[in-house]
Amino acid sequence: MRRIGVFCCWCGSNIGGVIDVPRLAMEALNLPAVAFSTDYKYMCSEPGQELIVRAVAEHRLDGVVVAACSPRIHEATFRQTLERAGLNPYLLVMANVREHCTWVHPDDPERAFAKALALVRGAAAKAARTEPLAAGTLPVTRRALVIGGGIAGIQAALDIADAGFEVLLVEREPTIGGKMVLLDKTFPTLDCSACISTPKMVAVAQHPRIRLFTYAEVVGLKGFLGNFEVTIRQKARSVDHGKCTGCGACWAKCPARVPNEYNLGLDRRKAIYVPFPQAVPNKPVIDRRHCRQFTRGRCGVCQKVCPVGAIDYAEEDREWQERVGAVVVATGFDLFEWAEAYGEYGYGRYPDVITGLQFERLANAAGPTGGKIVRPSDGAVPRTVVFVQCVGSRDEAKGREYCSRVCCMYTAKHAWQVLEKIPEAEVFVFYIDVRTAGKAYEEFYVRARRAGAHYIRGRVARIYPEGNRLRVVGTDTLLGRPVEVPADLVVLATGMVPAAGSGELARILGCGLDKDGFFQEAHPKLRPVEAGTAGIFLAGTCQGPKDIPDTVAQGSAAAAKVVGLLVREEIAYEPTVAMVDQTRCTGCGKCRAVCPFKAIELVTRQVRAGTAVAERVVAEVNPGLCAGCGNCTVACPSGVIDLKGFTNEQLLAEVDALCL
């Protein structure tokens, strides 16, 4: 007979405020094989864990049930406790009586208690059938992949490379730099964004341990923590960067003109182009969707003028595999597509209604106007500029529910810039709340107000043209009155949304997304830079809206995590993997078909059946690749695959105890 100990946690009032935890412990004592049970306020704390260690010794326990929170939170904690108590860590079973019980049934304590007891009963039945499991080890590939070359990816790549490890940095655009390099000045210090980000871009390009792949995408990822195999697709640049000197003859002569995405459509670029003069690498690519050689089948001007013969129209996309031990996702954000959602602001029909990022380009000395703030429609200097905050943010009806965190501050900065650059300009800011939680942020906002920006609390209901100006109609909710402002330029503070393609990348990487489509961190507070998938880390706005300081901090944090992984020669893998009883396997291959991790292969083995030995084709699991999902155990028609730690016997015992 096994001797199981049951440890019931109050989790303060999370569990103890709903059900009678001491009574739960008392009742658990009546369960089969339970030799000891007790309760404690915080079982995960030092005294709580000591309680378990002592009880194991005193009561000669050989299995432990902890009735507490989700195993996602503290299974690892209590496995270590068991190890300290001299037990195999896999003799632990968690009964989740918090997320699965008290949190969802706070209004019905009696039935919640019955449910908690049933969960403990199931866990105890499983615990009586657990077996010690041993973790194996695998070597670590000591190289990292960073996806996305914005400031988050740049920071992560530099930190990892500086620590001595090789980094592959993959960026889908023709240059690194992301959104930060497009900005004019950064709040609250008003230092020049390009001046602080372009040196970092150059440092990436020159770093001996960073291999930079621009105009490239990650299209596949296999493997697991420490041993990933990534598939990279290099999109055809149509320009041989080995030969190209970046002289500029090609784009000077290119006859095609297309809207320039780096200036948010405010001007035009050529079809063969370098996004901006400080781009890294500073060599062009051909945009085949607009190049006449590709759209019309003839042109060839760039090929004729190139002095080094670098233009190659026949170049094709190329894919290859690389091995890495860890992945940092730093894919950033896009701006909310306001023109599709806000009919009351004209659905993008009025040229003088622009976004904050377009304003950045107007204010930027490297932008289309050389830093002059003018109206896109007629190039006139605006006298009255209206800023509208929370466009697409904090708007459940038309946009997203969440706050984008940076818009209050960048709007204050824009207001300041207008007042500074245009004498006698009038600035109005429509806002819901002004949120300035950051070092020196509130001071900056106050400075913008003192400089003369009029802040009006309320949403803008409508913007429409009136003559060659715009009429902005809204409400001042502090005065309780309608407000109308005739404006020359309207700037919408559009919120952040996940970068286009985030969902597809998450699918490739096997990562989860949150309800808004941002990458989901493993724990909102305690594991903010880890994805739910081991070995994948998150940096910057791909995880949620944030400003530059937080983004850079997260890039460094992700890098520290990666370095902590790569300094190890080898890592232990979870022993909870599938196992085939090869003496009874028929080699049908159904398990291989359902395995999402490609961890099962069919192999020829000498198999002993009774006294005879025969050579047969049977399934075999690669424990390094197996993630323990259990698909194969369900698919196996002869029932000869078991998942260690979740065997059919253990699960059925748990279900029986729960239901019978």
Binding site: Y342, G343, A397, R462, Y464
Partner: protein, 287 residues
């Protein structure tokens, strides 16, 4: 022939008589049979739902139940009636207890299972091709400012089908019979609605704004599908002119009147002589 249960509402015999005339005439031409609901009652608009929430639901619920008994989808030409009927239908459908309560209040089983259509939707459902085939006097050269007001398109959570910020159904219909429509920002600008009685000043300034925008866009007339909007824009136009010293002479027509003209119907039959702002010159240009 498509049959609908028809809910005329109070304006049909009063201030919106010309709308009723045009609706009947155009429906006949389009092959829509409008079967008036027998013993219909007040739709529960402002006086109803301002008196009590439950009253505001029970009044339209009775009309819905009557239509359901006829086994027909329901057409309500007045925007306020339409809005009330749809709102009550949605609210009751989401609350089983309310459904039972309605049964008790009405003294009959409540079924809100028939579709409720505005006149605009019912006409649009006929299809552009058939409309085109019926057009004998295309409205070519006529520029129309389509004015929707609020009740036909809002609140978006309840009233669905058209864009609440930039509705297009009326524009599509009138363009379909040859008119030019203007892309203006005042399609859903508030007309002041029932404030006409307690605060006429509010309505006059709202109406002035809409008329001014229509003039700016060189519209020949405004088209509407709401009797209350119509009353404010047409009936109060003279008072706007007096109050602000302006000289607006902007005909305000119901959309079915314009369609009727395009179909070659007699202006008298469409009630075009019943407006405050004269329509004769516009009618002459079409006929």
């Amino acid at each position: 022939m498509v049959r609908y249960a028809y809910y005329p509402g109070c304006v049909a015999e009063g201030s919106g008589r010309e709308y009723e005339m045009a609706n009947r005439a155009v429906a006949a031409r389009l092959g829509l049979e409008l079967v008036e609901i027998e013993d219909w009652n007040c739709c529960g608009a402002t006086p109803g739902h301002n008196t009590g929430h439950l009253l505001g639901l029970a009044l339209p619920a009775r009309n819905l139940a009557l239509a359901s008994g006829m086994g027909l989808d329901l057409v309500a030409p007045c925007a306020a009636c339409y809005n009330r009927l749809v709102t009550a239908q949605r609210e009751i459908a989401c609350d089983p207890e309310l459904q039972v309560l309605m049964g008790r209040l009405l003294g009959r089983d409540y079924h809100g299972d028939r579709r409720v259509l505005s006149m605009v939707e019912a006409v649009a459902a006929v299809g552009a091709e058939r409309m085109k085939a019926l057009t004998v006097r295309p409205l070519e050269g006529i520029t129309v400012a389509c004015y929707y007001g609020c009740l036909l398109v809002r609140p978006p959570a309840v009233i669905r089908g058209d864009d609440p910020e930039d509705p297009r159904l009326l524009d599509d219909l009138l363009r379909g019979v040859g008119a030019t429509t203007v892309d203006w920002a005042h399609k859903t600008e508030c007309c002041g609605a029932a404030q006409a009685l307690p605060h006429e000043e509010v309505v006059l300034s709202r109406v002035r704004r809409i008329l001014e925008a229509a003039v700016t866009f060189r519209a020949d007339c405004i088209a509407t599908a709401c009797p209350l909007c119509h009353a404010n824009l047409d009936q109060r136009q003279a008072r706007v002119n007096r109050r602000f010293g302006t000289d607006y002479r902007m005909p305000v027509l119901y959309f079915t009147q314009l369609l009727g003209l395009a179909f070659g119907l007699n202006p008298g039959e469409l009630g075009l002589g019943l407006h405050f702002v004269p329509t004769a010159e516009l009618v002459r240009r079409i006929a």
